[in-house]
């Protein structure tokens, strides 16, 4: 802004510095302090430093091969996700489709579907009533890869589709008229690949991150393999206690250190790529005449089926009760829903759990939206000033993305034990990880929108002698209304679906959120045939709520939104 041009008084700059520093301080306090306290505790109890415990992973039955398997499945998942996602993104971005917004929402819905619900859906499809693949152990890894691809194709679509759909068509036309572009391969090599590469790589890096830290899917799809995340979940509960199951401290310390290092590297890469990405898509144009796709339905119909079938399977399972006896049979009934609503198999009913979930979601919204706004605004200001701090702070806001839910929950748990155990009884505790996990998404949505905003609009307001508050409420916020609404809804959806951290932190039965309730019902012995449909009913309600929120968000998404979710 005017400051970078000089001639701006020191006081104003000081004021702005505080304004930038404060949200970052708050955010760091939320994210980093619990993790540092947890790290300190683990080192203290185990008596070892992080680099001294790596070998312990190999020495324990439950964690041997975990490092190798974590990397293997994450790399393969990323490859498969790209293979499935790129053709879909290409079709969506390049051709004209009826109801494209709805289609885009449905294809990206898996990303906000709670993993535990999705896992149940995949089980239903792969199980004896579906493709009947569970009898063959060799199919487990492939199933997991497809499940991860299912989750993450949304990332490919969100990153790659805008690059193609906002492309100035003359870019391609010009190339066709040049010798280098007179063949399909030539155009691919000289233009499409360099154009899409940074975006594809961004999607790949994030897919890797999410596959690396995936929990529920690994648990259910590959029951005989452990990842660093499942190891932490298995032994994390006993961590941090002096002279008690010391190995669990070592395992958590080793797993989280490896996870952290890999993920920091990934985020650094992502940040560098995003800068490159914004350079290559700087050529977007308003005008784009999409062509009519002819064969694209051959890609999009299977893609829609792939995205929706696990969700349909969950609903189907909620409506069927096993008739136990010599023959495997089921009958169609609403009894599962009835018992879920009356709370027969759990401490609370799904309606209460939904209320809890919504309560936490609203608390998350109230904090993460203003926090995310302030963070984005601060980064944007620093960027305009050309400050060296812009990039590290940008990465800092993404940090929670790189910290898995389990690690986050453990961090808070072990961290607050250090401060005071009184926090255990505070009902808002479980909202902290929700805030931490949703704020990065808010920033990822608002920051690109702020970058796109014409600075003249704000300078003009300053000329009109509006004060800062007026500029904020009358100019900046209304102009960013779309991204703000989308960010708010995504924050709610992320909060509603969050499981890993809640699972560790939700202590009082009356606070149970829907995902926690689903898990409780899922792990309850199912001798009584009605338990399973009840769990599926809870899962269906969770999924449908998320679906509705997501479809609403899609309506407010600005065209050609290149931001992440």
């Amino acid at each position: 802004m005017a400051c970078s041009l000089g001639g701006c008084n020191g006081l104003k700059r000081k004021f702005e510095n505080i304004e930038v520093a404060l949200p970052f301080f708050l955010f760091s306090a939320l994210v980093i302090i619990p993790l540092l306290l947890a790290l300190d505790r683990l080192i203290y109890v185990s008596g070892k430093m992080p680099w001294q415990v790596f070998s312990s992973l190999d020495e324990h039955y439950l964690s041997q091969d975990a490092i190798g398997f974590t990397f293997l499945q994450a790399l393969l998942s990323t490859a498969l996700t790209l293979a499935i996602g790129i053709p879909i993104a290409w079709q969506l971005g390049r051709y004209h489709w009826p109801r494209i917004r709805l289609m885009r929402a449905l294809l990206t819905l898996p990303f906000v579907t709670p993993a535990i619900v999705a896992a149940m859906g995949f089980m239903a499809i792969l199980g004896s009533d579906g493709f009947d693949l569970r009898g063959e152990r060799s199919t487990y890894l492939v199933s997991l890869l497809f499940a991860h691809a299912w989750f993450n194709i949304a990332l490919v679509i969100r990153f790659v589709d805008p690059v193609i759909s906002n492309l100035d068509p003359r870019m391609e036309e010009q190339l066709r008229l040049l010798p280098a572009g007179n063949s399909r391969w030539g155009r691919l090599r000289c233009f499409w690949i360099p154009l899409m590469f940074p975006s594809i790589l961004c999607a790949a890096v994030l897919t890797f991150v999410f596959s690396f830290t995936s929990f529920a899917m690994v648990r259910w799809m590959t029951p005989s393999n452990a990842t660093l995340e499942t190891v932490m979940a298995d032994v994390g509960g006993a961590a941090g206690i002096e002279n008690y199951q010391i190995y669990s401290n070592e395992l958590v310390l080793a797993s989280s250190t490896i996870q952290f290092l890999v993920l920091i590297l990934a985020l650094w890469l992502l940040s560098a790529l995003q800068a490159k990405r914004s350079r290559t898509i700087a050529e977007v144009s308003e005008s784009h005449s999409r062509k009519k796709g002819r064969t694209g339905w051959l890609v999009l119909i299977p893609a829609l089926l792939f995205c929706l079938s696990p969700l349909m399977a969950v609903i189907r399972s909620s409506l069927r009760v096993a008739e136990r006896g010599p023959v495997i049979s089921h009958r169609w009934t609403l009894e599962g829903w009835q018992s879920a609503i009356s709370g027969d198999y759990a401490y609370i009913s799904i309606i209460d759990a939904l209320q809890n979930s919504l309560g936490y979601a609203i608390l998350t919204l109230v904090i993460s939206l203003p926090l995310g706004w302030s963070l984005s605004s601060g980064i944007h200001l620093l960027e305009k000033r050309g400050s060296y701090w812009a990039k590290p702070l940008d990465i800092l806001t993404m940090l929670p993305l790189a910290i898995s839910g389990v690690m986050l929950g453990l961090g808070i748990l072990l961290g607050i034990i250090r401060i005071s155990t009184v926090f255990f009884t505070m009902w808002w505790m479980p909202a902290i990880p929700h805030i931490m996990l949703s704020t990065p998404f808010v920033v990822r949505l608002l920051l690109p929108a702020m970058r796109r905003q014409d600075p003249e609009l704000i300078e003009n307001a300053q000329v009109l002698a509006m004060n800062r508050w007026q500029i904020l409420t009358k100019i900046r916020m209304p102009l960013l209304r779309g991204p703000l609404i989308v960010a708010g809804i995504i924050a709610i959806a992320m909060s509603m679906g969050e499981f890993g951290a809640s699972w560790i932190l939700v202590r009082t039965g009356a606070w149970d959120t829907l995902p926690v309730l689903v898990d409780q019902l899922m792990t309850r012995p199912g001798f009584d045939p009605l338990v399973k449909p009840t769990a599926m009913a809870a899962a269906s309600l969770l999924m449908l709520t998320t679906l509705i929120l997501f479809l609403v968000a899609e309506r407010f998404r600005p065209d050609g939104d290149g931001g992440m979710f």
Binding site: M171, E173, P179, A180, A282
Partner: protein, 195 residues
């Protein structure tokens, strides 16, 4: 060289119909007319980026009406220069000719020493000159120019146009210029078609 017979195209309204055009090798021609009259569309049809609804197009007496643009050997300079930002200036020139002598090509358009520049750092006029150099490197049968310098100010525009004319003349390139400026059309060619 270029022959258009009975060309017709409408988009919401009739842009042109029954249009004939004939251009010999090495000849230059200008097309003028008010904005929105279909000049650009005609040029895009000749290049093959759009299809004619009626009529035929011949290049060297071979019908190319249904041949895709990349097989026609035609060059086109868009109104706004199209450069690829993932490549530097030299990289963009090599899209026209893989083993191009980048330095002399740049010298010809008066951009000596620009080879390593990043494209987003170029001004509008500089960018269009790079695009021109690239188009010439490709040695097209015909070069189509769609108001190529409309984005630069008037003084510079006439200088750029004169440079371009000199360049085309020295190479004997067959070229069609679309412009709404009758003075530009007159200085570009004797042959002027008004739409």
């Amino acid at each position: 060289m270029l022959r258009v017979e009975g060309a017709g195209k409408s988009f919401e309204r009739i842009l042109f119909e029954g249009l004939d055009l004939n251009l010999a090798t090495g000849e230059r021609m200008s097309i003028t007319g008010p904005s929105g009259c279909g000049k650009t569309t005609l040029l895009r049809c000749i290049a093959g980026l759009e299809d004619l609804q009626d009529g035929k197009i011949y290049l060297d007496d071979i019908e190319v009406t249904n041949i895709p643009p990349e097989k026609r050997g035609i060059g086109l300079l868009f109104q706004k220069p199209v450069l690829y930002h993932h490549l530097d200036v030299a990289g963009n020139l090599r899209l026209g000719k893989r083993d191009a002598d980048v330095h002399s090509a740049l010298k010809e358009v008066g951009l000596d020493g620009f080879a390593d520049r990043r494209c987003e750092k170029l001004s509008g006029g500089e960018a269009q000159r790079v695009a021109l150099a690239r188009a010439l490197l490709a040695e097209p049968k015909i070069l189509l120019l769609d108001e190529p310098f409309s984005a630069v100010d008037e003084e510079l525009r006439s200088r750029l146009l004169n440079d371009t004319i000199a360049l085309l003349g020295s190479r004997g390139t067959t070229a069609v210029l679309v412009t709404h400026n009758i003075k530009e059309a007159e200085s570009f060619s004797k042959n002027i078609m008004t739409m």
